[in-house]
Subunit: 621 residues, 2 copies
């Protein structure tokens, strides 16, 4: 077994490491609203010492406490993380797999003396800041690592003894175990803690061993890939042991005849794509975070991205998985077959389960041929109805070569021009559409695209447009779409929502929200994956405002539910959105999910506090 | 509620209705090896009266009894079904969604005075006869319907009290319930029984009601769509109530912008396709059985077919399901969204579960644009290596317009020419490849195809070839591939296997089997979906032979397992193959499946005896 080199010594104060210049501004008497933490199910529950991060010194006993406190947790440390003078100018951003990691790094550097942002879960749910509740958790973890709470009882993963079985601890949690240096401690991205809340980059066998080890000792585990998720699914909440897949980075096999790649879970998406491009293939998914994200994490979160319109979701392209279950046993479903109808397709349950049902350690995935020709058209439309018609016309006329159809409104373009000084080649249109074709013959593709453009222009669907065929110009045009998130962070405090809706209703929510908020919002913008019915609704304000937040939520979720949409199209629920699952799933489905969780992870040690609501949260709506 | 007209009175004798001229030739002292039936787990279990169909009059007590008896069951009635003079010339056939239903109808007519074949589960697992074990069940059901065993206790769906929880009866099964005429009895395809084992074509609300009704009374339910399955998954084994989806045949909505169709489960695939074609779309799957099969059944069996290479599996294209669970509750996951990452994707568990976890009552599915141009090339290759290279070249050069890649060996062509008098436009090649393109521009597609053919011919990959562009010629060429199954039925007794393998190994099994069997087999042929790595291995003999069967099995399954293939690529396991699941799935996976089954259907009332092995069968391998 390869020994993992010891991580360099880091400052141990959570506050220092998160760049806090003052204690986190918890609401007086509030708590994180986490099961087993400051309060559970609305009833008082005290700690021997304050829980990591310091929330809920006195517990709370109001039924609405957890929910309200969770909101506070989402916004509190964000402001703190940016220092007192600048409450909100969040990092990361989504951008449909846009420029999130780059933006995050950039902002980390900009934070300067405040220290690098850690536990960054991407754009905060509320105000676009790095961290949010998850960052708190990282701070808490560091505090735990200091040893001053080493003797305290770690938060039990279970709920109430008479509640639903999900996350119920089977037995009192024994004293915390400190992993041996070099065994579960390793260099890796994301939050990392010494002592009990340790980061571990482990190999496959060790993952199984580690999981079994944790299961026996009732230790909670936080599986972590590239830690590029945006809803806090990959960061620990309390003192979970981080099980990183970083060392599971081997390509096991690639079959050029079938196009099937088998690799370990820790392989970085971009590296896989580079490997495949040498063989004339590409990965069936593409994300802005591709330089950091792991394929295991992509599968665990059912990542969407830019190629979904063309190659479909991971539910169709992932052919097999190897998964370590909560008890440490290995479920080997790592087949490399396009067709296999022998029994239930178990792997599907782990795709998109955000590490709450098992730790994905290897993936078998079907990869498409690398397209020989790529064209990009950037078009201006006078109404959203014309945007929709442009999309349907492009699908009819471009057919098999249509590989992306994105849209953005003029507010997005204004922000990109104003804050990033990018040049918009078109002006005067309230909507812009970006259409990409990928095919095997450049002449044919250009012909099809020209025919489509001619049709679109003559029928008045498109008011103006430009086409790029060379790589540099294509990249420039794509940056107009990909860097919207970055531009938003410069516009002030950002409230971000990732919504799936029937395509026809996609922009109604933006207009509705714009009318509803009026002058209380600085900008209300909408952009997203038109072909997938995926809207990124972003609302900016000069600074964070309770009033504004209450005007947005739960209205935005109710609106989405009313139109049979999804409150999380491609980001998952993680820690930040789990309590809103009811807006998109009926109670029967949630109850069934909880039963699956209880069955596969009876002690609730796998990525606790994520994806599914606890019983108290479950009764919110 | 619409009242279902009473079905016309039919002959009640199972023997008459199956066309048996003499009692089924059960092995002396043998039994079906079904849980709760003649024997369970190798221990004697007697019936007050013999179970339907008459097996196991004395029970058995040898550990290997159930397995061996199940084999006997598979072959016994097949021979009987064809009459004494002609043991095996089975119907149905698979043909990758080929000409199965037509062949079945044709053979039904050919059976003449023997009566129409009922309970036909397609090609028999052993010898290509209609029915097999499932046909026995239909006969048994008919016998039960006669009333002579009406007072006997129906077989308990549960297994041993101390075995795994799957199919364990929670309580003694109460006296049988006879559905009211016109309520659960209706005209419908497939086996149908009066009295206890009644066919029911019901509407959605009634499906929920019916399931709850059955759950309360511990009555087993056999969900049934078009009854075109090939492994006996849609036919009752004993006296299950058949819950037909035939009346759930409404199209709920179709969105031309997104291409998403929402419909009830009983819609016939071909009718859906016709509806969509009028709107410029097609269904993402195409099967030979499309004229009869229901979309609900397609989803429940995760049907593959001819368009899988292009549009992917149903796991990617099915966006939502409405499912009635065992207890009668309705699980509404009928979203029409391409992206929805809110919690676990529960619908995936029901896709391919063959009705053992829930009854699918409505489906939401993503439909592709109808291609404007279709071309077909029929090519001859001198070796399988060249077949593989032809496939990879076609994928590289045809790229996005490649929509099917099928192969067949010269033996297949010989049979098609000899028995069906079809004309093979090419001769002298040991292998033939059928390549279809579907695109949005006929000129472009023709260009691409010509370039590919030129490359294939000049590089010596292809020895000879012909191309079709008009619909009639395309149909003629397709029939060479689709009617292979039909030709095989004329060649004698057929042993059929539907295998998934890594593409490079696809034909090795055929050659290996040919060498192994030598003169004991009449023909060993291989054909299938090259692009999907799906081989249809068929072995014919003059008559059924124990010796030949023992030479084939379990060798063929062991060979498949050794090469990490699947013993059922697209047909599912149903009743016929459930005990062989171990060759394709590890014990941990099977155990997990059994836990899912036990959780979702604790009384084991949903399609019992299908898909998963019982504990005794589970220890076979």
């Amino acid at each position: 077994m390869r020994r993992v080199p010891r991580a360099p010594r880091r400052p141990r104060s959570g506050a220092q490491r998160l760049g806090w210049s003052r204690p986190p501004p918890w609401p007086p008497g509030g708590c994180l609203g986490l099961p087993g933490a400051g309060c559970g199910n609305g009833r008082p529950r005290r700690w021997a010492r304050p829980p990591p991060g310091g929330p809920c010194p006195g517990g709370c006993d109001t039924p609405s406490g957890p929910a309200r406190a969770a909101r506070e947790a989402g916004r509190g440390p964000a402001g703190a993380g940016r220092g007192a003078g600048r409450a909100c100018a969040g990092a990361g951003g989504h951008g449909a797999g846009g420029a999130a990691p780059r933006a995050r790094r950039r902002l980390g550097a900009a934070a300067g003396a405040d220290g690098p942002p850690r536990g960054d879960a991407g754009p905060a749910r509320r105000c676009g800041c790095p961290g949010g509740a998850a960052a708190v958790a990282a701070g808490g973890g560091a505090a735990a690592g200091r040893g001053d709470v080493a003797g305290s009882r770690p938060p039990a993963p279970g709920g109430d003894a008479d509640g639903p079985p999900v996350r119920r601890a089977a037995a009192p949690v024994p004293r915390p175990v400190r992993p041996r240096p070099g065994r579960l401690r390793a260099p890796g991205a994301g939050p990392r803690r010494d002592g009990r809340g340790a980061a571990g980059a482990v190999q496959r066998g060790l993952a199984a061993l580690g999981a079994g080890y944790c299961y026996e000792r009732n230790l909670a585990v936080n599986p972590q890939g590239g830690n590029t998720g945006l809803v806090g699914g990959s960061v620990p909440v309390f003192d979970e042991i981080i099980l990183s897949t970083a060392l599971m980075n081997k390509i096991i096999s690639f079959d050029k005849v079938s196009g099937i790649l088998v690799c370990q879970a820790g392989c970085i998406l971009e590296k896989l794509n580079e490997y495949l491009e040498d063989q004339g293939f590409i990965m069936p998914l593409d994300l802005g975070a591709k330089g950091s994200c792991h394929i295991g994490g992509n599968v665990a979160t059912n990542a969407g991205g830019l190629r979904l319109l063309r190659y479909g979701s991971l539910r169709g392209t992932v052919l097999g998985l190897e998964v370590v279950l909560a008890d440490g046993s290995v479920l080997d479903c790592l087949t490399s077959l396009r067709k296999d109808n022998t029994g239930y397709d178990l792997k599907q349950l782990f795709i998109g389960s955000e590490g709450t049902l098992g730790v994905i350690t290897a993936v078998s995935i079907l990869c498409p041929q690398k397209p020989k020709a790529v064209n990009l058209a950037f078009l201006g439309c006078q109404s959203f109805a014309k945007v929709l018609e442009t999309f349907t016309t492009s699908r009819a006329m471009l057919g098999e070569i249509l590989s992306a159809c994105e849209f953005m409104d003029e507010k997005c373009m204004e922000l990109v021009e104003r804050h990033l000084k990018l040049s918009n080649p078109l002006t005067g249109s309230p909507f812009y559409v970006l259409i990409e074709t990928s095919g095997s013959d450049s002449t044919h593709d250009a012909d099809k695209l020209n025919n489509f453009l001619e049709q679109a222009m003559t029928s008045g669907l498109v008011a103006d447009g430009t086409v790029a065929t060379d790589a540099k110009k294509i990249k420039t045009l794509w940056s107009l779409r990909e860097r919207i998130t970055e531009a938003l962070t410069h516009d002030g405090c950002v409230y971000k929502y990732d919504i799936s809706l029937p395509v026809g209703k996609l922009y109604d929510l933006v207009m509705d929200m714009r009318a509803r908020l009026g002058q209380s919002a600085k900008n209300v913008v909408g952009y997203g994956h038109l072909g997938d019915g995926n809207l990124h609704l972003n609302i900016t304000a000069e600074s964070y405002s309770h009033f504004l937040l209450d005007a947005i939520e739960p209205y935005v979720y109710e609106w989405t539910a009313r139109h049979k949409g999804s409150i999380s199209a491609e980001h998952g629920l993680g820690f930040k959105k789990k309590q809103y699952i009811h807006y998109s799933k009926p109670n029967e489905a949630i109850f069934l999910m909880q039963r699956f969780k209880a069955m596969l992870d009876p002690k609730g040690i796998l990525n606790p506090y994520k994806t599914l609501p606890t019983s108290s949260e479950g009764n919110m709506h």
